[in-house]
Structures are given as structure tokens and as C-alpha cells.
Subunit: 142 residues, 2 copies
DNA sequence: GCTTGACTTAGAGCGCGCTCGAAGCCGTAG
DNA sequence: CTACGGCTTCGAGCGCGCTCTAAGTCAAGC
């Protein structure tokens, strides 16, 4: 499989695939006699997994760390698991935050819908985040 | 309230607050005789709401659009509602995607945990995303 | 034989959302 | 009186994750 095919299959651009190889997220692809990259289908699962990490907001430098451990083989399984667990924790937290925000959004939209009255033009449904509420509860000079 | 206080209360930096004013996300704050910004407590709810939009990934240019409508008053309620509804749809989609990823992450971690056997060193649990699966199901030249 | 188009490299550029620096002013505490 | 911290403006700089350009090579189709 050539880079263009891989691009079509993964949704990444060929540019991005080369970039990923350059920085080490993708293994150095074997070149054919005319220096073109040739890919094995197995790369697809790896790229898909990288996609998951990206989607969930893992920075490239962390993906790189994971990638390098993976390349060092089964000795690094523990370390990799730890990375993923830490990441999962962050993702869960982010998810919870988003759900929180979604409720606010719903409330606000509902407010707009029912506003024949001017009573609550806007902001009546604004509520500070949990973290902000805590700060607000304390005096200024804390 | 001065900018430093507001910064402490919102978690934004003073730099960021000035930046937000500059680009129009925050209203021009009245200056005292020595040109320092003075804030009313009501700004807190607005900043909190902006925070929700940011957290949920709304680009600044869209927040700006919303802000400008808001400043134009109650005539723009409908348009604002539409913006928020569209945004909510995106947030929901993103949420679903994250939950999807979380399952993959869980599976992968579980795999690491139970691997006394080498059988599934890694990638055995990698599965393409839904979108990718669809692309993969079709022949290359589609 | 020639055109077309996908590929190669190295490196510059971009869009986003801040973040910081410089140089200077102001007001209060010691 | 002076030192200090916090404020002001304007504009440059940064970290991230790509994204694109330039100049060139190569292989297949007409």
C-alpha cells in the first residue's frame, strides 16, 4: 500500500503521515526502489489507535512516549498500561466536565425557548463551574 | 473589582482578561481615574458562561458572534438560541466519540492486565473508529 | 516519446489561543 | 521619600499540530 492509499483509508493526509513518521509516531516505512513508502495493512490498526489517543486529547509528546515504549517490546507493558490508565482518568474527567456543560447549555436553550417574558433575557441560567464556585465562595484575598 | 481580583476569581490570567476585552469577548470595562479597569460582579457569570463554551470546544470566533448578538439585545434571542443548539449538537457528538474511545481504552487496559500470556502483546484490541471502519470496508479506489 | 500525477525531501508557514515583555504610571506601606 | 506591587498599552512570541511549497524523481497510460 502506498502513502496515498493509506491516506484515503485513514483519513489522514499524506503530509500528515510523513510528518508522523518524521516525528516517530509511525515506524519508518520500507521504501521501494523509487524511494516510495510501502505500507502493510497492519499499520491501519496502529493509526486507528493513535487516532483514539488524539481524539481523546493526548498530546503528541505523550503518544510518542507510548510509541517508543511499544517499540521496545513486551518489557514495557507495565509502563504502557500506566500511561493509558493515567490518560483514561483524564478523559473521564473531561467527559464529566463536558456533561456538566451540556446541562448548562440545555438549561440555557430551554430558557430561550420559553421566554415570551423578558424576565430572563439572558445569563439568568449562567452558573459558574464547580471550581469557580469554590473560588467565589472564598473572600478575595485567599 | 480590579483586574487582578477578577483574575483570581475566574482563574483567567489578567493578560487573558485584557486579551478577551481587546477581541470583544468582554465588554470594555470602565476605567478609574488612573485608567485601571473596574469590574462589576455581574461579569463573573458572563465569564463563567464563556468558560463553558471554551471547555466545550467552541472556537473564539463563534463565541464572538454570540457575544455580539447578545450586545445587540433581545432581538437576537432566536439567533443566539440557534447558535447554542448547533453547538450542543456538536458537543453531544464529541461526547459520544469520547465515550467510544473510552471503551477502547478500557479494553486495552484490561488486555494489559490479563496478559500473563504473550498472546496479545498489543494492538489485538485496536479497532478502527466507526468512520474508519466504513472506509476500510470499501475497496481502495472508491 | 510525452504527459500526467503521485511520490520524494527539507524546510517554511499557518491558525489558534493565549502568553509574555518592555516601558512606564499610580497608590499605598514603611 | 522611596520602594513595591499592580496596573496600563502595544506588540511580539510561543506551543501545538499540522499544512503547504518548491524542486525534483519516477512509472504508467496514451
Amino acid at each position: 500500500m502506498k502513502i496515498g492509499d493509506l491516506a484515503r483509508r485513514t483519513g489522514l493526509s499524506a503530509h500528515t503521515i510523513r510528518y508522523y513518521e518524521r516525528i516517530g509516531l509511525l515506524p519508518y516505512a520500507p521504501r521501494d526502489p523509487s524511494r516510495q513508502r510501502g505500507y502493510d495493512a497492519s499499520i491501519l490498526t496502529w493509526i486507528a489507535f493513535l487516532g483514539r489517543l488524539r481524539t481523546t486529547g493526548m498530546p503528541i509528546r505523550d503518544m510518542l512516549r507510548y510509541t517508543q515504549l511499544r517499540e521496545r517490546g513486551p518489557d514495557t507493558l507495565d509502563e504502557r498500561r500506566i500511561i493509558l490508565e493515567a490518560h483514561r482518568t483524564k478523559v473521564r474527567a473531561h467527559l464529566a466536565e463536558l456533561q456538566d456543560c451540556l446541562v448548562v447549555l440545555d438549561t440555557k436553550i430551554a430558557g430561550y425557548a420559553g421566554s415570551d417574558t423578558v424576565e430572563m433575557d439572558n445569563d439568568a441560567t449562567d452558573q459558574p463551574t464547580r471550581a469557580l464556585r469554590e473560588r467565589l465562595a472564598r473572600p478575595i484575598g485567599d
